[in-house]
């Protein structure tokens, strides 16, 4: 699973801590999601998409091998 969290964060000029506060998780937890080590639940992905005013599909995409 690929994600564009870092790109979206950069667009908003948010640090990991800022985004983590917005979506109610720890900074370390967000780092784990951003680096692809942990795949978030649907609720958290939707909350993240809402924070960025975008959709889940923009934030998360399946890898070529997963499709």
């Amino acid at each position: 699973m690929k994600n564009t969290i870092k790109v979206e964060r950069a667009k908003k000029n948010w640090t990991q801590a800022d985004l983590a506060k917005h979506i109610g998780i720890s900074r370390q937890g967000l780092n784990s999601i951003e680096t692809g080590k942990f795949i978030p639940s649907t609720v958290l992905a939707l909350r993240m998409a809402k924070a960025f005013n975008t959709t889940v599909e923009v934030l998360f995409q399946l890898d070529d091998t997963e499709q």
């Binding site: 506060k21 917005h22 979506i23 109610g24 998780i25 720890s26 370390q28 937890g29 780092n31 784990s32 999601i33 680096t35 080590k37 942990f38 978030p40 639940s41 958290l44």
Partner: protein, 146 residues
């Protein structure tokens, strides 16, 4: 209006994070209280320094503090974020699996007459159980980099 909603949502997530931290701290405090009751109780009972009726009470006290600790841990688990929940879940699964394996191995070895109660008594198994939980916790923390 939107600013108000944003602030309300923001403060809710901060509140969630703080309450999660408080619950985690509470569970650590109760773990320490459990340890502070278990170790002296084990020492007192091992050296048979008190009479039988009092021994039973001393034996029950750490069980009560452990039960309170488990309740606090469950409460802390419910307010953790999902990454931390996964780490705890994997730690418990690894800890439980390794403890079950050790108990099975000891049982089978006992059946064939090979056992060493000096190293693998009930008291030691409690220690191994905690050790395996921390092994699982360490492995899972490394896996998710938290």
């Amino acid at each position: 209006m939107f600013t108000y909603l944003y602030e309300a949502k923001h403060s809710t997530s901060i509140f969630m994070e703080r309450s999660g931290k408080n619950e985690s701290q509470n569970s650590v405090i109760f773990a320490l209280i459990y340890g502070a009751t278990y170790l002296p109780a084990a020492w007192l009972l091992k050296h048979q320094m008190i009479g039988k009726p009092l021994s039973i009470i001393v034996a029950i006290i750490p069980i009560i503090t452990f039960a309170v600790f488990v309740l606090k841990l469950i409460k802390a688990f419910s307010v953790m974020d999902e990454v931390r929940q996964r780490v705890q879940l994997e730690a418990v699964v690894i800890g439980f699996s390794l403890t079950a394996m050790l108990i099975m191995l000891l049982f089978l070895l006992e059946l064939c007459g090979v056992s060493n109660p000096g190293w693998f008594g009930y008291g030691h198994l409690v220690g191994y159980c905690w050790l395996f939980y921390f092994v699982g916790w360490f492995v899972s923390k490394k896996k998710y980099d938290v």
